[in-house]
């Protein structure tokens, strides 16, 4: 199986280049991460992130043939040759497939991604009905891999000001939590033409999300909530 992998070490390379790699035997059920690890044994200067290898942690997001995926949950058998592996688009490259995620995480921090509950704390748990709790399904599972945000054309156009699907999904996760009391502040944070309203429903985020989440729907819900509260 033929691969073409993005290589760039600013320390030694003037420009990025694509390097060819060849995988002799592909066993059934082999994942892209297995292939990358194999290449790393051949050429130890190849650099990429990885941790759990099971799709829980979100460390190994890369772009494969134009689509953002997690390397550890992508079967080699579904990929078209030559497999082009490049870093997540739109973020500065530190080296090879490793991008600088600071911009992404600062957008995550910008939505105040934590529960704010101003009512006095009970000695036991705050009650939440199974229905209210079910509202959090589809948003708290996000693993912050940045596949969605970096695939979003609107975010590509306004990476500094549009918060992007991942951060907005988290905004919705807390807006929709029955225990959270900061709805108004959160909506205020998202006001203005850029932070929320650059979404044009292209739905790349939904198509690439490795956890099958739906940020587009969450963005729509935030807009409706905002509409309701501003009327």
């Amino acid at each position: 199986m033929r691969f073409s992998i993005y290589r760039y070490n600013p320390e030694t390379d003037a420009e990025p280049r694509m390097q060819r790699f060849e995988l002799e035997s592909v066993s059934r059920g082999m994942m892209l991460l297995d292939a990358l690890l194999r290449f790393k044994e051949q050429d130890e200067s190849l650099v990429f992130r990885h941790a759990c290898g099971e799709g829980h942690c979100g460390a190994d997001g890369v772009n494969v043939n134009g689509v953002n995926v997690l390397a550890c949950t992508t079967r080699l058998s579904i990929l078209r040759e030559p497999v082009q592996v490049t870093p997540l688009p739109g973020l500065p490259v530190i080296r090879d497939l490793v991008v600088d995620m600071e911009a992404f995480f600062s957008q995550y921090r910008a939505v105040r991604p934590y529960l704010i509950a101003d009512d006095p704390e009970p000695e036991v748990e705050r009650r939440q009905s199974p229905e209210q709790r079910a509202g959090l399904d589809g948003s708290f599972e996000c693993i912050l891999c940045a596949c969605c945000t970096t695939q979003c054309p609107s975010w590509q156009n306004n990476p500094e000001r549009y918060l992007g699907p991942a951060a907005l999904l988290q905004a919705w996760r807390f807006l929709n939590d029955s225990r959270d009391t900061a709805t108004e502040e959160r909506l205020n944070d998202l006001a203005g033409p850029y932070a929320l309203f650059r979404c044009r429903t292209v739905m790349n985020c939904v198509n690439v999300c490795p956890k099958d989440l739906n940020p587009t729907e969450a963005i729509g819900r935030i807009r409706r909530l905002m509409l309701k509260s501003s009327l």
Partner: protein, 159 residues
Amino acid sequence: MVAVRGHGKVYNGPCSEYQNLFMGRYTSVMPARERNKAHLLIGHRPPRPWLSAASLLSSTQRWAGLFLALSTPYFLYSFDLSLRSEAGFTQVLQWVQSLWGRLWTLACVWAFAAHLAAGLRLLLGDLGLGLDREMARRSAWAANLFPWFVVLALLIGWR
């Protein structure tokens, strides 16, 4: 300010206050041109941008909208001319019925239908309808095909 590493240079990254995104404190991470350089510089064909039905529809809608917006003065001028005098009316009618005029009308109808179909899909989405992955894919295909059907219908009607 936090120095953001990347691409061999140091950029001024966002500072630690994120409360107000619009007062300019959330400053540029990387200029757009620089950002894309990393990919453009590959001495190789860059990966083909990924095109889904929905993203195709979205750009169609944008370009069709721009086309219609730019042709607004033309419509207004024709409308004005046709009302102003008998001669003006004939002039407009002749243009519309000419071959080029018909082609132009066809283009406008296509653009309007495309913009309309995509817009309708967006409106449904705003109501929370059809946003799951499968439905969205199907509705995007339908909306992509819609303007062509309209144009086809118009052509049949003219014959």
